[in-house]
């Protein structure tokens, strides 16, 4: 017992030492801020986007939406127990997928456009083929011991999930089995984003931390702190060297991977609502963040200033997405509508 206590004390001392070392290393490179670097940048001015379409069809709160790679189709999920695939150019519904469990929290489109996936309080991720005559269940991925908060396809054969059981998981869709389990978070994993080269991904969790993972090795490479509440949303900056988070602490933050820390925060004393979702414009200059205050606020990512707002929903904005061609923003809300703006 005494030797175990001695080992625990020594390990704890080493932990404390390493934490101090990391903080010192971060401080040593903290020679300026993003907002000072952006001082010389041109102002974006007031960003005023117009509402182009209101998509009606869901009968209950919308929890998630995801653009297809064709920048035209889009899938949405509602707790009315349906996934709807929309043609956003016409506003028409193309496919309706009835769900076994209505308690859906996340939906994703495969890059091929052939498959969609969803999951939620059923703790499962279900994959559907939407190109068959009627939507066909391809796989039921059942191993998480907590709710499915987020899912993203790498291809038609691999999908990544984030769960309330505090783990993320890479699945093989050909076998329906888990390939790699990513453990390190100590709170529900709420959101994930894949890097463009698909070698890494970032996750945000209720432990208020964001983590960078090696997709193939299964290891956590970096941990980012700063938020003081659950991180609900996370997305890569298009260069791949930074990512942005949105949190229940009412702020968004940009973290740079190579400096290993926060480089700028986005908060406003008048904004007292949690951030539910976020998306970036193609250059990375504009951040569209959905809030509990029924609005999607637009931030200048470089100067850290609010530059616009998308108002029109009658309830919380729960999901936000910009298509690959950057031609618009889609917001989804608990008011059961999806709106397209540009």
């Amino acid at each position: 017992m005494a030797s175990e206590k001695a080992e625990m004390d020594s390990l704890k001392k080493e932990c404390d030492g390493l934490r101090t070392q990391i903080e010192a290393a971060r401080k040593a490179v903290n020679d300026g801020s993003m907002s000072s670097a952006a001082g010389s940048a041109t102002d974006v001015g007031r960003v005023q986007l117009k509402l182009r379409k209101s998509l009606k069809g869901h009968l209950a709160k919308i929890y998630s939406m995801h653009w297809a790679t064709d920048s035209r189709s889009m899938v949405s999920a509602s707790q009315d127990g349906k996934l709807l695939v929309w043609d956003t150019f016409s506003g028409n519904k193309m496919v309706a997928v009835p769900l076994k469990s209505a308690w859906v929290m996340s939906v994703a489109f495969a890059p091929s456009g052939n498959l969609v996936a969803s999951g939620g309080l059923d703790n499962m991720c279900t994959v559907y083929n939407i190109k068959s005559a009627s939507p066909k269940t391809l796989r039921e991925l059942d191993a998480h011991t907590g709710y499915l908060a987020c899912c993203r396809f790498l291809s038609d054969t691999e999908i990544l999930t984030a769960s309330g059981d505090t783990t993320c998981c890479l699945w093989d869709l050909e076998t329906g089995k888990q390939k790699i389990i990513f453990t390190n978070h100590i709170g529900d994993c709420m959101s994930l984003a894949l890097s463009q080269d698909e070698r890494t991904f970032v996750s945000g969790a209720c432990d208020s931390l964001a983590k960078l993972w090696d997709l193939r090795e299964g290891t956590c490479k970096q941990t980012f702190s700063g938020h003081t509440s659950d991180i609900n949303a996370i997305n890569f900056f298009p260069s791949g060297n930074a990512f942005i988070t949105g949190s229940d602490d009412c702020s968004c933050k940009m973290y740079d991977l190579r400096s290993d820390q926060e480089v700028i925060g986005y908060q406003d004393t008048s904004l007292n609502a949690g951030v539910t979702s976020l998306a970036l414009s193609n250059s990375g200059r504009l951040i569209f963040a959905g809030y509990d205050d029924f609005n999607c606020h637009i931030w200048d990512s470089m100067k850290g200033e609010k530059v616009g707002v998308l108002s029109g929903h009658d309830n919380r904005v729960s999901c936000t997405g910009v298509p690959g061609d950057g031609m618009g923003v889609c917001t989804g809300s608990w008011d059961s509508f999806l709106k397209l703006w540009n």
Partner: protein
């Protein structure tokens, strides 16, 4: 759980934490001034390919409802 098993779990957990912190401590970090400049450059270089930033002409707008014309 016996106290011996409990303390072995704690030790295993502490060892994993040390292992993880060693990985995180070992990375190279670049200065925030350089990181910020690179992010700014990226925004500037790609601004002209950002429709939401520069605006979309009505004729090219896929989401805008097209009004039909009548020839009188």
């Amino acid at each position: 759980m016996s106290s011996k098993a409990h303390s072995s779990n704690n030790i295993a957990h502490a060892r994993r934490t040390v292992q993880q912190l060693r990985i995180e401590a070992s990375i190279e970090r670049i200065k925030i001034s350089k990181a910020s400049a690179d992010l700014m450059n990226y925004c500037n270089e790609h601004a002209r390919n950002d429709p939401l930033l520069i605006g979309i002409p009505a004729s090219d707008n896929p989401f805008k409802d097209k009004k039909t014309c009548t020839i009188l």
